[in-house]
Amino acid sequence: EDKVVQSPLSLVVHEGDTVTLNCSYEVTNFRSLLWYKQEKKAPTFLFMLTSSGIEKKSGRLSSILDKKELFSILNITATQTGDSAIYLCAVIHSFGAQKLVFGQGTRLTINP
């Protein structure tokens, strides 16, 4: 059975700190790993990672995939209160109809 595990489940830090969120997976016919940010309801897309070792970067956020060890990390530097959200990791198969398998999410809280 396909499995995606995120850690930690919850994290509270102070504004300005750097955080690292983890995602490990066990998926047959892995194709890509995606990160989403969920603030209230609709998850919004952050990154899609397909190749191992290539960092994707967007402002203060960055992410990298390790296909040998089957995990990904999401880094956020100089955190701001607006980064408070649930961060979801999901994987997608090589074949099939674009079905995403999600982890349980990491709830990140940034205190001022």
Binding site: V4, Q6, R31, S32, L34, Y36, K40, K41, A42, P43, T44, F45, M48, L88, A90, I92, G96, A97, Q98, K99, L100, V101, F102, G103, Q104, G105
Partner: protein
């Protein structure tokens, strides 16, 4: 350009009732997927519709059914509601022809079953 729109945003039902949730995909998208997100959990795949047919289904009972219309909009129906069906139901759309893996999600319909 409207994104994915879902209705209703909130609804309350009692056990045994039936519910219909609606979704309009983002302009240019032809594929609709439905996900169930229980409190404190990640979304779980229910099923996906393309060309008005169910293409793939997750591990959900037959009480969960759906439909896609010629304009690509979709409905999710749940019969014989259970307390455990209380969740946020997310609709996501994509364009299958581009082989896109990036789904655009709607804001969801929050279902409470009493």
């Amino acid at each position: 350009d409207a994104g994915v729109t879902q209705s209703p945003t909130h609804l309350i039902k009692t056990r045994g009732q039936q519910v219909t949730l609606r979704c309009s995909p983002k302009s240019g998208h032809d594929t609709v997927s439905w996900y169930q997100q229980a409190l404190g959990q990640g979304p779980q795949f229910i099923f996906q519709y393309y060309e008005e047919e169910e293409r793939q289904r997750g591990n959900f009972p037959d009480r969960f059914s759906g439909h896609q219309f010629p304009n690509y909009s979709s409905e999710l129906n749940v019969n014989a509601l259970l307390l455990g069906d209380s969740a946020l139901y997310l609709c996501a759309s994509s364009f299958r022809g581009a082989g896109a893996n990036v789904l655009t999600f709607g804001a969801g319909s929050r279902l409470t079953v009493l």
